[in-house]
């Protein structure tokens, strides 16, 4: 009879289950998807993140002088879905578990993740080029090519280099491993 009385008594004995949050700490799960963050060192400026972004939060614009790409993520339209993190080929975007995003209206348009991805300079011709995906490129390259050097030059110079190599060695350079 009257099972709710039992519950009430148990509630009083157990004491409040409230966490201390506004006055103290709270529990934040490690894998909570919060504010997204970009590591400009790893970014390839490929733009897949802005392509898949559900909320249309990511804008990538090339700077006028061609020095690099400006990455702008407006937290006020990010849905924390994590698609950008999932699709990023270089693991440059990560969802941190920081959820302290509330801000006053005056900061509405400045509540952004702004990063500048600088284009590396070609060692040979000095032109700006898109960043390489270092590891993958290193894996895919075969033959007597200086990988360390090839990663630092632009596609045009790379084409030139391989053409020069072919002319010099008179052997056909291909990625077919069985022939080499």
């Amino acid at each position: 009879m009257l099972p709710f009385l039992k519950i009430l008594v148990r509630n009083i004995i157990k004491g409040p289950a409230t966490e201390a949050f506004p006055f103290g700490d709270t529990f934040t799960p490690k894998r909570l998807r919060g504010r997204a963050e970009l590591n400009p060192e790893r970014c390839l400026a490929c733009g897949i993140c802005s392509h898949v972004c559900a909320g249309g939060a990511i804008a990538m614009t090339e700077s006028a002088d061609g020095r690099g790409m400006e990455f702008r993520l407006w937290h006020n339209t990010c849905t924390f879905c994590g698609l950008c993190e999932h699709y990023c080929p270089a693991n440059a975007i990560t969802m941190t578990n920081d959820w302290h995003l509330s801000h006053e209206q005056s900061e509405k348009y400045t509540c952004c993740e702004v990063q500048f991805v600088e284009y590396p300079v070609c060692k040979r011709c000095g032109k700006r080029m898109l960043p390489h995906l270092h590891q993958r490129l290193a894996k895919g390259l075969v033959g007597a090519v200086n990988t360390a050097e090839i990663m630092q030059i632009c596609p045009d110079c790379r084409r030139l280099t391989s053409a020069m190599q072919q002319i010099k060695s008179k052997t056909c350079f291909s990625t077919d491993r069985s022939n080499s």
Binding site: A17, F21, P22, T77, C78, W99, E104, Q105, K108
Partner: protein, 147 residues
């Protein structure tokens, strides 16, 4: 009113929520902050009230759809001054995933002066409480200024 009494005013923020065409996700989180013992907002003196006439802090969720716009504006006008508005979720702030839809009138700050934004889809209950605390600070400033 006496200055000594004024400093207690912000300890009793009564919350009123307006759903401006929200998908209900943010409303669920608001209900969570209201009802679950773990995030007891009553500690801050908050009380969810049913009538807009009793409200101090307005929590708006939803991207302001065309159909609901007039009603939202009317309800907002019925709230007595001084009032502080909190936009909960990304929809009222920017339109969120519904931005540029034919049936969306938002973002909210085109029609209603917003004071605090709490982004998230939906925001965590703790983030909402943080927003409410920020709103309380703004409210306190407003009251102290009215001499």
């Amino acid at each position: 009113m006496h200055k000594y009494l004024k400093q207690f005013v912000h300890k009793s923020p009564w919350l009123y929520r307006i759903n401006a065409g929200s998908c209900n996700g943010c409303d669920v989180e608001l209900a969570t902050t209201a009802l679950i013992p773990r995030y007891d907002v009553e500690r801050l003196g908050c009380k969810y009230c049913g009538s807009p006439r009793h409200a101090d802090i307005v929590l708006i969720s939803g991207p302001l759809t065309t159909r609901v716009k007039e009603r939202v504006l009317r309800v907002y006008e019925e709230i007595p001054h001084p009032k502080v508005t909190v936009a909960v979720g990304i929809c009222p702030i920017s339109g969120g995933v519904f931005r540029d839809s034919y049936s969306i009138e938002g973002p909210m700050d085109r029609y209603i002066p917003i004071d605090v934004n709490v982004p998230g889809c939906p925001p965590r209950p703790q983030a909402i409480m943080e927003g409410i605390l920020k709103a309380c600070e703004i409210w306190k400033k407003q009251i102290m200024e009215v001499a």
